[in-house]
């Protein structure tokens, strides 16, 4: 009996980790590129969910929504970068961080203005609407799909960065932008691409989360807390750290539910606080905090 609830919580935790990983990967890649923590990431996630709701309603296809919503949000991400990061390029990074905070406020209010304060529901795609049962263990198949989807995205990003020309340009630019620019890399284009890609990942996470959690205007400000926690605990700019932190964090909260009940969130954050006591810049962070 207990191992079933344990396995249940484990899978539940992993599927939450899947969402966290997708949101946080974009955030940490953007940080690795321009040293700015992008506060609009949460509202971009929310926008992804809203667009997917809209597209599901218009086209009836969940998969089409999953494809188009990230593209739309990537465009918005490029706009955000163009008006908040670019003009402030020679100012301290914390100022750029505050500028994205201001934009996040604005975008969230625009969402509320257009879509109202109500929550919307997106129904599960037909292929994953049923549950799988293994003996007495019952798993919603959409949760498994989330885990597989996140794994596939991680593999795709890893391959892109390690094996392709574009990946080499991205790694070079985030390592040493000046040197890359001297070697005639169009660093502006590269960082815009990364920003757009990161935004698309946030939107993908939002679209994937939409059927599980409802679509509501404060979903951005809820996810950004977790995303900040994940990327800093993993070490800003570190992809493997992000994945590791996302798993620790979500498992602490879902397994913690068995141990301490409704205070599992508190337990989670305390574990993370302990991480920071040992590694002030996160598990795989650079030693000098920037």
């Amino acid at each position: 009996m207990t191992w079933i609830s344990l396995a249940n919580q484990l899978i539940l935790g992993l599927s939450t980790a899947a969402i966290y990983v997708l949101v946080s990967l974009g955030l940490t890649m953007i940080f690795g590129m321009m040293n700015v923590l992008n506060f609009t990431h949460g509202v971009l996630y929310a926008l992804g969910a809203y667009f997917s709701y809209l597209l599901v309603k218009l086209t009836g296809s969940f998969w089409l929504a999953l494809l188009i919503a990230p593209l739309l949000v990537a465009l918005i991400g490029m706009l955000v970068e163009h008006i908040s990061i670019r003009p402030l390029a020679d100012r301290p990074h914390l100022i750029q961080f505050l500028a994205t905070f201001a934009l996040a406020l604005v975008i969230e209010q625009v969402i509320r203005l257009v879509a109202g304060n109500d929550a919307y529901a997106v129904s599960l795609p037909v292929a994953f609407a049923q549950t799988l049962s293994l003996g007495s263990l019952v798993i919603p198949s959409y949760r498994l799909f989330l885990i597989v989807a996140a794994l596939m995205v991680c593999l795709a990003i890893g391959t892109l960065l390690a094996k392709t020309q574009v990946g080499a340009l991205i790694r070079a630019t985030s390592e040493d932008p000046e040197m890359a620019a001297l070697l005639r890399v169009n660093t502006r284009a590269v960082s815009t691409t990364v920003f757009a890609g990161g935004s698309a990942l946030a939107a993908l996470a939002g679209a994937l989360a939409a059927p599980v959690f409802s679509v509501h205007p404060s979903m951005g400000e809820e996810i950004i807390t977790m995303a900040f926690l994940v990327v800093t605990a993993g070490g800003l700019g570190s992809l493997r750290g992000t994945v590791l932190a996302a798993i620790i964090l979500s498992q602490a909260s879902s397994l913690g539910l068995l141990a301490v009940g409704k205070y599992s969130d508190v337990l989670t954050i305390c574990i993370m606080a302990a991480v920071f006591l040992v590694w002030p810049t996160g598990i795989f962070g650079r030693t000098e905090g920037r």
Partner: protein
Amino acid sequence: MNNRLRPPLWLSAWLMFGVALAFAPISPYTATLATEVIILTLWAVSYNLVYGYMGEISFGHAAFFGVGAFGVPLLAREFNLPFGFNLAGGIVVACLFGALVSVIIRRTRGVYYAVLTFVLAEVLYVVAIKWTNFTGGDNGLPVSRPGLLASPLSYALFAFVIVTIALVALHRIVNSPAGRVVQAIHQNERRARQIGYNTDAYRALTFILSGAFSGLAGALYSPFIQFVSPDLLFWTFSGQVIIMTIIGGSGAFYGPVLGAAVFVILRDFISSWSASSAVIGGVALAKLGEHWPLFMGMIFFLIIVFEPAGIVGIVSRFKRTWSRSKYRSELVG
């Protein structure tokens, strides 16, 4: 500095504001608005210890404010303390929380500092939401104030006196030798450490002091709105004090005072649209009035991009052109 007894200009202006509050015939509504400006002024000025003087962004100052605000009804309920002790209790609890957080963030800087304060404040928010028996959860708690302070005007004057004392104390602190060290750390921490200052200790002390005064502001706030809820601990509320501080100008002691005033008045003005029936460009003004953070966010963004020194920067820019034109007219005349 030829006359140390002469109060600085901001203090004279502030005291004149207090006199006007006491003697001008103002409506209860204006008194309420003034009280909010007074309390948020204290919060913004104490926030500026960390932001303007030490040069770090804390994204968790709502935790201090909220601790102070929750302290008043909780201490009254648990220990049956009289009102004044509740205020002091809020400060003490805020200090303790600040000390705890300082231990965790002692080696973090920059972005990590912002995120860690953000996240640790979130712990309190989650606890406040979940621990319903103690904090009332989402429903919050009612807060009573003593009969003597029941009217809006009397509470405004009470808050004014407390905040004035706190502001003078804060002014002394930032201009004390220790305050200078903190400013030196802002400019070049490594150098300050090499001279022999224990920079970690100064940074922690600044954070705790800033938190203590924020706690006092919170403890004044909950009897003012006669209600306290976990919203006061949420990070969006921390964002508001950042906006106030930067809009006003973090480079001067009185900057956040202006920021708090502008913030409250602007918010009140925009919210007042919701009673209007006008339609501009197809959008009902009443609907826009509910979305005051939209405008606040835009103004904040414009300030960051075009005038990072805030209102203080705009004022000094005007002063400069004015004195230049005066100089020129003297030359001509």
